[in-house]
């Protein structure tokens, strides 16, 4: 039984309204927005259970692109089928896209002003620092999991990470080589590892 066959559990205007409110409130990036969505979908609207939400979020890590979009799509489908997906995405995106475009347009107008340049010399390094935070947050769970699995996984993970950087920095190859090379390496290692474990037990 998949979610597709379940009866829609909310009206389209209601779905749009809830996601629109989330779209306006979602200042502060992914973690803050995720918490907002959880409160709205699980606690306030009873659209999904706690367990469903956790499973959805785990699956969203595998989907390409922005994880929050994928989560919106899954919850949207649960609540209103194909139209529910559209209502949820439109509600989430309409306010945030509009504000992003307006902010960029305003910035483009004043980008050459001396004050803007001075502010940017502060903002740009801060953006890079915050980008490092995002990077560390991705690495940390991976590193913890690899250490638990053993030295071999730790070494393979290190090779994948540093190798990918080297492919770009030293050999100037297209990024896709780094991504696929690293993914295939880790897939093969995980597979061989599980085969060996079944053979042992």
């Amino acid at each position: 039984m998949t979610a597709t066959h379940e009866a829609p559990s909310a009206s389209l205007p209601r779905i749009f309204q809830v996601w629109f409110k989330l779209g306006i409130q979602s200042f502060g990036g992914g973690v803050a927005t995720l918490a907002l969505i959880q409160r709205a979908a699980v606690d306030d609207e009873n659209w999904v259970t706690d367990l469903e939400f956790t499973r959805y979020w785990a699956l969203c890590q595998i989907a390409p692109g922005i994880n929050l979009f994928a989560l919106t799509i899954l919850i949207g489908r649960k609540t209103g089928g194909a139209l529910g997906i559209l209502a949820a995405l439109a509600g989430l995106l309409l306010p945030s896209i509009t504000i992003t475009i307006l902010m960029t347009a305003a910035y483009a107008k004043i980008r050459h002003a001396p004050a803007t340049q001075a502010a940017l010399r502060g903002i740009l390094p801060a953006t890079i620092g915050l980008g490092l935070v995002a990077t560390i947050q991705i690495v940390r769970p991976l590193a913890v999991a690899a250490r638990k699995e053993g030295v071999d996984t730790l070494i393979v993970s290190g090779v994948a990470l540093i190798g990918s950087g080297a492919v770009i920095a030293v050999w100037h190859l297209p990024v896709i080589f780094a991504l696929i090379g690293s993914a295939v390496l880790c897939a093969l290692h995980a597979w061989v590892r599980s085969l060996r474990r079944t053979a042992e037990s």
Partner: protein
């Protein structure tokens, strides 16, 4: 700039990555080699994306605008909206295969690679802004404050802007 090519490059970058920042390295590579965007454009778009509401992945909307105005922003929007729909296939596959070890390894490899490549890109953005004591101090301070998770991102960026304005 060719709009269709831009859309396809953005779509490729998003399809082959996870998370809102995963598409940066590939797009950075493709747009810079075609001279359609500058290092500075990427840093600017990332800054706007951090300040504006919605997922951080919306930075690419800002980049699209800087590169090609409102049409560019809408092309970016289309390019990042399509890939997450593959979640429907992922969920279906999940019900079929549950957990095959190779699948988990593949996903982990993608994530690790994104991080390695992203580190290189951040280094290039930083050298574009210019290596000096102030830049590195602001970068390190925002990293430390960001890791503590106690201060909203917008507040960190506003504080950095003020520092930039005061210490010209």
């Amino acid at each position: 700039m060719n709009p269709l090519t831009y859309f396809l490059l953005a779509l490729k970058a998003s399809l082959l990555s996870t998370g809102g920042f995963g598409n940066i390295p590939s797009l950075h590579d493709d747009l810079l080699s075609r001279h359609w965007a500058t290092e500075r454009n990427f840093a600017e778009a990332l800054a706007v994306g951090q300040i504006s509401p919605g997922p951080n992945g919306l930075w690419i909307i800002s980049l699209g605008y800087l590169v090609n105005g409102v049409p560019g922003a809408l092309l970016s929007l289309a390019a990042i909206t399509i890939p997450p729909f593959l979640i429907l296939g992922v969920e279906w596959l999940y019900h079929k295969t549950k957990h095959h070890p190779a699948v988990e390894g593949f996903v982990r490899g993608l994530a690790l690679s994104t991080v390695g490549v992203f580190a290189v890109v951040l280094h290039r953005l930083l050298s574009d802004v210019g290596f000096n004591a102030r830049t590195l101090l602001i970068c390190a301070a925002s990293l430390a404050i960001g890791l503590s998770r106690k201060v909203p991102v917008v507040a960190v960026l506003l504080a950095a802007a003020v520092v930039g304005l005061i210490f010209r």
